[in-house]
Symmetry: C2
Subunit: 204 residues, 2 copies
DNA sequence: CACTAAAGCGGAGGTGCCTCCGTTTATTTA
DNA sequence: TAAATAAACGGAGGCACCTCCGCTTTAGTG
């Protein structure tokens, strides 16, 4: 008879999140997913009742999992960041380093687009809950840093660039808008940046 | 027949606020007054319908004057600041300069209490609308400065204090709490400060 | 498998928000 | 003073929020 306590993992960096009942977990995941779509489509003011309905659960369930709209927004936002960082790892595995970097930056633009959609709510969250800010901005700039280093190491971009400078340049995307051509404009900025990064690279 | 355009005033620092109909002005004033009480009593989430009712107007009227809750909060807050600054002038006229200063600081504590009640809403307002912040903090520190200078000039407090230092000390009141004894604690801090200020004063 | 306690579900219902528009009122003009 | 007009009023109605609690499902236990 195997010791039921030894499923490996756990008992270390997570204090005691105690496993959720399967249905609860399922509903929670579905809610977050639907909410992400809804926020992207309609902004933070998307109707919570609508989200619950589309996730196929009652409004009560939504509120049990996320006591306030802000909770839900925060989780969605963290998920977004997580996805962005994961994408970095996948891309670098499936593409030449410079292409991975470019694709990732294009995706970064999408992420920023979401972020501005959530603007008011997020601003409040980020000042209220300061760990959220440091967590996420750390994760994102870390991902970008490793992409740049990989590209530089492979010789696909020049070796003398500083990751934080590129980060800074992308920052311009965030503060720039709100014109309707923002998306294209940002896309062009990324291309331009990449040209600059490729210029004078050792290997092609 | 007198020229209807010459009611003196206007045409200078106010661009063109064009006079309001008498009933509109009356209702607006009443709304602000009631809202101030309501926010103080129940926090920023006080019911707007309740406010309208207590002011004796329909909810439509409230919304015509203040299209969003934030508008109303801002006006109430500005009024609060205005009141605080006026009080400085009145107090200095009716009391010895050091007493005026002390009374004013006590009132400042009340003001801060209100401000923390509005915390979330205000934080958002103050980052969104940066003139609001500079306007009001300028007005307040100006009032305090003149009180201190008057008290110093009359010899009731020592002459070697810098108004901005005192301001800074009072700042502690804002950031300190949230204990239930916050009010008393703040009152004691003011007394303490005054003792320090009076110590070594020329005239008594 | 049957049973049970605990966990989770869901939606009715009470409340507040905010818009819209027919009615009322202050002000201007004659 | 009376009529005309623009401004302001107010509340019904529709929608979203969120709480509360009786019902359903899950995950253990014998």
């Amino acid at each position: 008879m195997p010791d039921p306590q030894t499923t490996a993992e756990a008992t270390r960096d997570t204090p005691a999140p105690k496993p959720m009942r399967a249905d609860a977990q399922r509903n929670r995941d579905k809610l977050v997913e639907v909410a992400a779509q809804a926020f992207a489509a309609d902004g933070v003011d998307a109707s919570l009742e609508e989200i619950a309905k589309r996730a196929g659960v009652g409004i009560g369930t939504l509120y049990r999992h996320f006591p306030t709209r802000e909770h839900l927004v925060e989780v969605v936002y963290r998920r977004e960041v997580e996805g962005l960082c994961h994408a970095a790892e996948d891309l670098v595995r499936e593409h030449p380093a410079d292409v991975a970097l470019e694709l990732w930056m294009q995706r970064f633009v999408d992420y920023i687009a979401t972020k501005r959609g959530l603007a008011t709510s997020l601003r409040l969250l980020l000042t209220t809950n300061s760990t959220l800010f440091s967590d996420t901005s750390g994760r994102v700039s870390g991902a970008m840093r490793s992409l740049i280093e990989a590209a530089a190491a492979s010789g696909k971009i020049r070796a003398d660039v500083d990751a934080s400078d590129v980060m800074h340049a992308l920052g311009g995307i965030y503060s720039a808008p709100n014109t309707p051509d923002w998306r294209e404009r940002s896309g062009r900025l990324v291309k331009l940046l990449m040209d600059g990064l490729r210029f004078g690279a050792k290997n092609q």
